[in-house]
């Protein structure tokens, strides 16, 4: 049974890591990162079956692919705090010669990253490939993916979504960060998507809603529910209803902080709302 308080402490620390990374280089994407902090901590600390260390093929363990690579600050923070690389390395985010590129990449050999992402819409396809390789290898472990909701506007997703159901890819759990925001405004204003649930269901997926996508217990329950549905001939979609900018009041419920760094005062305010728990890097 998960120690929820302990996981929530990590989320608070991850929020600090996110805004400190972005503030230092005055660039990066804090809004979506903050909204997915609970998901990442739940996935890496509680839900996924992971081996010690890192190897590219990841045989004998669950795999995770981040499709919306711009939320790299939360990915890097949780990878570091899960032991993939030294937490101090978060200091190098977006700097010259860093392994922590603006968007995640395998190119600099950062442990924990198996695929470059940033150009949107490619993560589900990659995950389908990795899931197929697992089946060929007789590896019963699962493949997890996270996509943004605005990202679903990319057509490649729907090629992959159609393939997954037609081919009964049932060792795959795709989570959608349903925060309703994208760069130019709300997803409804930019390109209304209607019901994401209805779309996935129409394509033949099993859908799990997590109404409280920023509640640790709810996220863990949702992911465990999804996990229990695997192996039954259908791909699984988890709809995470999150709040962009969650945990820092002036960043919440707006697309304004999609790709904008806080200034010194805003950083101080954000940090004061999230006291240090595991220790800053």
């Amino acid at each position: 049974m998960a120690d929820i308080a302990q996981l929530e402490d990590m989320v608070t620390q991850v929020r600090r890591d996110i805004i400190r990374q972005v503030h230092k280089v005055n660039s990066g994407h804090p809004g979506g990162s903050l909204g997915c902090a609970e998901f990442f901590v739940a996935l890496y600390q509680e839900v996924m079956d992971r081996k010690e260390g890192f190897d590219m093929n990841g045989e004998g363990e669950d795999l995770f692919f981040l499709s919306n690579g711009h939320i790299s600050p939360v990915f890097y923070s949780v990878l570091a705090r899960s032991g993939y690389f030294p937490v101090d390395e978060l200091n190098t985010f977006r700097l010259l010669d860093s392994r922590l590129q603006g968007h995640p990449t395998t190119h600099e050999g950062l442990p924990g990253i198996r695929m470059a992402s940033g150009s949107l819409g490619q993560g589900i396809s990659v995950s389908l490939g990795a899931a197929a390789a697992k089946k060929l290898n007789g590896d019963k472990h699962l493949v997890y993916t996270l996509c943004g909701d605005g990202e679903l506007q990319e057509g490649q997703n729907w090629e992959a979504i159609m393939y997954a159901a037609a081919n009964k890819v049932d060792n795959l759990i795709v989570s959608i960060d349903l925060n309703g925001q994208q760069i130019d405004g709300s997803t409804d204003a930019v390109l209304g998507m209607g019901s994401v649930r209805a779309k996935f269901e129409a394509f033949g997926w099993d859908v799990v809603d997590v109404e409280k996508g920023n509640d640790m217990s709810a996220v863990i329950d949702g992911l465990n529910t999804a996990k229990a549905k695997t192996g039954n001939g259908k791909p699984i979609c988890v709809l995470l209803h999150t709040i962009m900018g969650n945990g820092i009041d002036f960043m919440m419920h707006t697309h304004a902080w999609h790709g904008k760094a806080p200034n010194d005062e805003q950083l101080a305010e954000g940090l004061s709302q999230n006291p240090e728990t595991l220790g800053d890097y």
Binding site: H107, A116, Q122, S125, L128, A132, L136, N137, E159
Partner: protein, 317 residues
């Protein structure tokens, strides 16, 4: 002059199909993906004999490339198959991010390249794909000349760890390279020795270059024909050595002169040993419907065009 015998016209795509089927038997890690062109790509035998390792993705090339990239995680060696047009331009960003930048061991195998696709016309004839692929850091680019060489290349790229673009075609053309010959990625093949002009050709134009060399020989001109099957990495040493010997170069390819083999050769020569060069290639144009032979003639991609270019470049020495 060394001469070559056509052992019977065959399509290069069938060489790919034969190579893939052989790989299926000898390498359990090889998997194949196809976007609704299994027959055209000659992947039927692999599909029939290794159904668990064959992935029909439907008309969804972007998803195919992404899936192939993902399959490498778990140790698979994926071969994707569709037309050259849909293997490159349509999925450039997927190849760039998920394959090339991510350094994945994916083999992008492309049939119906160039103008000899024929009657389907310009929507399906790509003359830009070599340029697109050679621009990607880390991508190996191969354009084979006949059935035997295409089969050998298919076998060879499975042994190489890294992304590869393998380009071949639809028409039945002369089959003249050795059966079960060795294919060395990045190594030029000197087909004839000569002193007056170097002809550097790739793909379907290699046989045309040999035909041109025969014609030139009859006029007392000795041509050195080099088969450059690997456009990247380019065998610069072979090109420089031959250019120094003959003093002038003709390149020949079924591709736009912009971004193709000719430009790569010109770069090597201008950096090392500036040499007059003429390029037999399409002149920044789309193709059109017609038979392969009609199109090769209209767009100046045959032995006759190579002879003319050789005569011209010799005069520029």
């Amino acid at each position: 002059m060394k001469t070559y015998t056509n052992t019977g016209n065959k399509d290069t795509r069938s060489g790919f199909g034969a190579g893939l089927e052989e790989l299926g038997k000898k390498n359990e890690q090889v998997v194949a993906l196809c976007a609704d062109l299994t027959g055209s790509l000659k992947m039927d035998a692999f599909k029939a004999n290794h159904p668990e390792r064959f992935f029909q993705v439907g008309i969804a090339e972007a998803n195919m490339i992404g899936m192939a990239a993902g399959m490498t995680i778990g140790g698979k060696i994926p071969f994707t198959g569709t037309f050259a047009n849909f293997s490159t331009g349509r999925v450039y960003d997927q190849i760039r991010q998920s394959v090339a930048y991510s350094g994945k061991n994916v083999k992008i195998c492309a049939s119906h390249a160039g103008i000899t696709l024929g009657e389907d016309g310009a929507t399906h004839q790509i003359l830009e794909d070599i340029g697109l692929m050679k621009m990607l850091p880390g991508m190996t680019v191969i354009n084979t000349c006949d059935y035997n060489q295409t089969k050998a290349a298919t076998l060879a790229i499975a042994e190489y760890d890294g992304p590869v673009y393998l380009r071949f075609g639809r028409p039945k053309v002369a089959n003249f390279t050795p059966e079960n010959g060795e294919f060395k990625i990045g190594e030029a093949v000197e087909l004839t020795q000569g002193n007056d002009v170097t002809i550097i050709a790739t793909g379907h134009l290699v046989w045309e270059a040999l035909e041109a060399a025969k014609t030139l020989n009859e006029s007392g001109i000795s041509a050195e024909v080099i088969n450059i099957h690997t456009i990247k990495p380019l065998d610069a040493n072979a090109i420089i050595a031959s250019a120094k010997k003959t003093g002038c170069v003709v390149t020949a390819e079924e591709h736009n002169y912009m971004g193709g083999l000719g430009e790569s050769v010109a770069r090597v020569l201008s950096e090392n040993t500036p040499t007059p060069i003429e390029m037999v290639a399409t002149q920044d144009t789309f193709g059109e419907s017609g038979t392969p032979a009609q199109l090769m003639e209209k767009y100046g991609l045959n032995a006759e065009a190579i002879v003319k270019a050789a005569t011209k470049v010799i005069a520029r020495k």
